[in-house]
């Protein structure tokens, strides 16, 4: 069973294996922000209202919505 970034708990660390989705604004944006295969992600926290989430990737902090995290497959 594949896990997505959305399913990681705060404090959990993993490696991105695939970013799903066709060519679209979201995928391009993720690519530009360094969310690509092989990058290590650490989930930092969830926003007070339950969404979006904050992750650490390539040495910086990134926030994205759970709906976007759902398309990111992690090891």
């Amino acid at each position: 069973m594949e896990r997505t970034l959305k399913e990681l708990m705060p404090g959990e660390k993993s490696i991105i294996t695939k970013v799903l989705g066709d060519k679209g604004a979201v995928k391009r944006r993720l690519m530009d922000m360094g969310v690509t295969r092989g990058a290590e992600v650490l989930v930092r926290k969830v926003a007070p209202l339950g969404d979006p989430i904050e992750v650490n990737i390539r040495g910086y902090e990134l926030t994205l919505r759970k709906s976007e995290a759902e398309n990111i497959i992690v090891a």
Binding site: V26, L30, M33, G38, A39, P48, D51, P52, E61, T63
Partner: protein, 682 residues
């Protein structure tokens, strides 16, 4: 002859700070042609020679998918700056270098400014400049822009590169950056496809890469025929099969592998144990589950009470007194002495000077507000606010970044609309701008005060509160409706960097504040001024171009009388209301003073007893409420209108906004009156 240096870098890399440091007071802010993205230009100080600095928009990539990226790339490709200064955040080299790889692919002269070295030192990062230079094959200069360190050296190196530019080309890097199969595909496209194109390309290696990547902009510019496109597709598919990824991802991956390996070699990070950085500590509080929202609201309340409360109203009174008092009196008596005609005197004093006044009163507020907003932005808090509030606004089809502009709308629509610049997505911006006027601004309060005093003296607060709520509800519903109709489109990604907290530079804050004030006067000023003079004209003359005895007899009065029947189904078909609402375009509070004049109660801007009695004769509580609702929702005032025009950069969308709000106002007032009547209210 002058040299052009372009500054390119990620958002939050300290680009603006460096730009301010290099150019100081010589900078000029404009817009890129056709869009509302700021273009900053200036001259380099601290160095001999005529060097122009162009600050390109902050971008993460040169892929042509956002307006900013297209602007930056087009500028570099078409305008050919002598040197591209690429600013890299030294604390975050790996991701920042992604943009660098794309600049190097372009084969332009690049000088890398490794900024925020102080922060990198503080974090314990050891950066080997030599290793970076040997891999990137361009000069890398460590700087700390906020303290002015290394800036002169950076400019000297850039100048040096510019003077020996011809020899420097970025092409060699290709082979190191991408692996053999990608390189050979590029070479084959260069050999087999490019010569068959109708249009010549100067940079065939880069063009080949872009064609391989499937870059739509480049395909468009070169008008690549379908036959060649399908040939290119073969190269793409070959790679896609090999890597089991789509072609865009393959190339992006390849660039990232390069930046990761260079960063790994050049940067030695201190062992990160469980220790928390200052940023982490602040974040623990600011985005805390329980504290985050109260803290945000408290901060907003503080900014509000300063900007629109004591200090704000003091500055408004001060400017008002200066323009409409001192200056107006001066001109008045001077024109009196000069024996000017009555209409001329009125034009100058009540048309031109008062028009200027109605514009200038906003300036101090705009400057104070943007002082605070740039603190929030520059410290990095703004991104956190968006992070915290995103969930709430998602339902409207907006992102967390729209929250602050909407909130500012409760103070004044003008700076609120101006502050939508932080929204990157054009559709989000448009929608936010369209919703802002529904937030009940400070200028509507005098209307509520007057009418509630006349009709709801027992529960004034509740009635005023209900109007604020009504505005919010209408904004929410409009968000739903507009997002599903005229602003339909792909959901904008909410993938945003949360930059580390930083202390803003005083210089940066001052420059930003000054720009906003100046920009407002220059850009919105003309429209406001023209509108003020036209309204004065319509108000002063009757159809025989004689001075009208009172506003009711003027052209404006005639128009009011003509349109009054439109308001009959809303319960206030009286021509005086129509005229008052027309003058409300000048400034919403003018509704009150016009009512006073028309009811023959001169100077009654407050709730004087005479005016209250006069209103009670022509309104009922129900029609008064419908009137207040209409005043809240209809056409924004001319200052807001002019700002919307400036920020939307389109008459079409400005008129849609104005038409939409007026239509909604009519509908809501209609429902209030008709349903109220059915329910037995009067």
């Amino acid at each position: 002859m002058f040299l052009k240096f372009a500054l390119v870098g990620n958002p939050n890399c300290g680009k603006t700070t460096l730009f301010n440091e290099i150019t100081g007071s010589t900078q000029y802010v404009g817009n890129w042609p056709g869009v509302t993205i700021e273009k900053r230009e200036g001259k380099a100080k601290k160095i001999e020679g005529d060097i122009r600095i162009i600050d390109l928009p902050g971008i993460y990539s040169l892929s042509p998918y956002s307006m900013e990226e297209i602007i930056a790339r087009d500028y570099i490709v078409n305008e050919k700056p002598d040197v591209v200064i690429n600013i890299i955040d030294a604390t975050n080299i790996e991701r920042n270098m992604y943009l660098t790889t794309q600049l190097l692919e372009l084969g332009v002269s690049v000088v890398v400014a490794l900024n925020m070295m102080d922060a990198a030192d503080a974090k314990g990062h050891k950066i080997d400049i030599g290793i970076l230079e040997s891999h990137l094959k361009v000069p890398v200069i460590p700087i700390t822009a906020s303290k002015g360190r290394g800036v002169t050296e950076l400019l000297e190196r850039a100048l040096n590169v510019a003077q020996t530019a011809a020899s420097a080309g970025g092409v060699p890097l290709f082979n190191e950056m991408h692996d053999e199969s990608i390189i050979s595909s590029i070479q084959e496209i260069e050999k087999n496809i490019i010569p068959n194109l109708n249009s010549k390309t100067e940079n065939s290696r880069w063009t080949a890469l872009k064609l391989l990547e499937g870059d739509e902009k480049v395909q468009e510019t070169l008008q690549v025929p379908d036959a060649l496109l399908s040939e290119i597709k073969l190269y793409q598919e070959k790679l896609e099969r090999k890597y089991d990824m789509d072609i865009e991802t393959i190339i992006a991956d390849s660039r990232y592998q390069f930046t990761t390996s260079v960063a790994r070699k050049a940067v030695k990070k201190k062992e990160q144990s469980s220790y928390l950085t200052v940023s982490d500590k602040i974040d623990k509080v600011v985005t805390n589950r329980i504290l985050a929202i109260p803290l945000f609201l408290g901060m907003m309340f503080g900014i509000f009470s300063v900007t629109f409360g004591t200090i704000g109203s003091f500055t408004i009174d001060f400017v008002d007194e200066l323009v409409n008092g001192t200056i107006a009196n001066l001109f008045s008596s001077w024109l009196e002495v000069a024996g000017a005609a009555g209409w001329l005197k009125d034009l100058i004093v009540n048309g031109i000077i008062a028009g200027m006044g109605s514009m200038l009163v906003f300036v101090p507020q705009i400057m104070i507000l943007f002082f605070f907003l740039s603190i929030l932005e520059d410290t990095g808090y703004m991104a956190r606010a968006a992070f915290v509030m995103d969930r709430l606004l998602r339902k409207l089809g907006l992102s967390g970044k729209s929250f602050i502009p909407m909130l500012i709308g409760f103070g004044c629509s003008v700076p609120a609309v101006m502050s939508t610049r932080t929204l990157e997505n054009e559709k989000d911006r448009r929608l936010t701008i369209m919703l802002i006027p529904f937030m009940s601004c400070g200028a509507r309060l005098p209307i509520y005060a007057l009418y509630t005093a006349a009709f709801f003296s027992n529960n004034q607060t509740m009635v005023v509160f209900s109007l604020y709520l009504l505005g919010i509800v209408i904004a929410v519903l409009s968000g739903f409706v507009l997002k599903k109709t005229i602003l339909k489109g792909e959901v904008a990604p909410f993938v945003m960097e949360l930059p580390p907290y930083r202390i803003p530079t005083f210089k940066g804050l001052m420059i930003h504040m000054w720009d906003k004030g100046k920009g407002f006067v220059k850009k919105a000023g003309t429209i406001i001024f023209a509108a003020a003079v036209i309204i004065w004209f319509l108000q002063y003359f009757d159809f025989s171009f004689q001075a009208a005895a009172d506003p009711g007899a003027s052209i404006l009065g005639a128009v009011g009388k003509a349109i009054a029947p439109i308001f009959t189904p809303l319960g206030f078909g009286d021509w005086k209301s129509a005229v008052a609402l027309l003058t409300g375009f000048v400034a919403k509070e003018a509704v009150v003073s016009t009512m006073g004049i028309l009811d023959g109660v001169s100077g009654a801007t407050d709730g004087s007893v005479d005016l209250l009695t006069a209103l009670q004769a022509s309104f009922t509580p129900l029609t008064a409420y419908a009137f207040m609702a209409f005043s809240l929702l209809y056409l924004p005032c001319m200052a807001a209108f002019a700002t919307i025009k400036r920020e939307m950069n389109s008459w079409k969308w400005t008129l849609i906004t104005a038409g939409y709000s007026t239509g909604v106002a009519w509908l809501v007032a209609f429902l209030i009156f008709q349903v109220g009547k059915l329910m037995g209210f009067s």
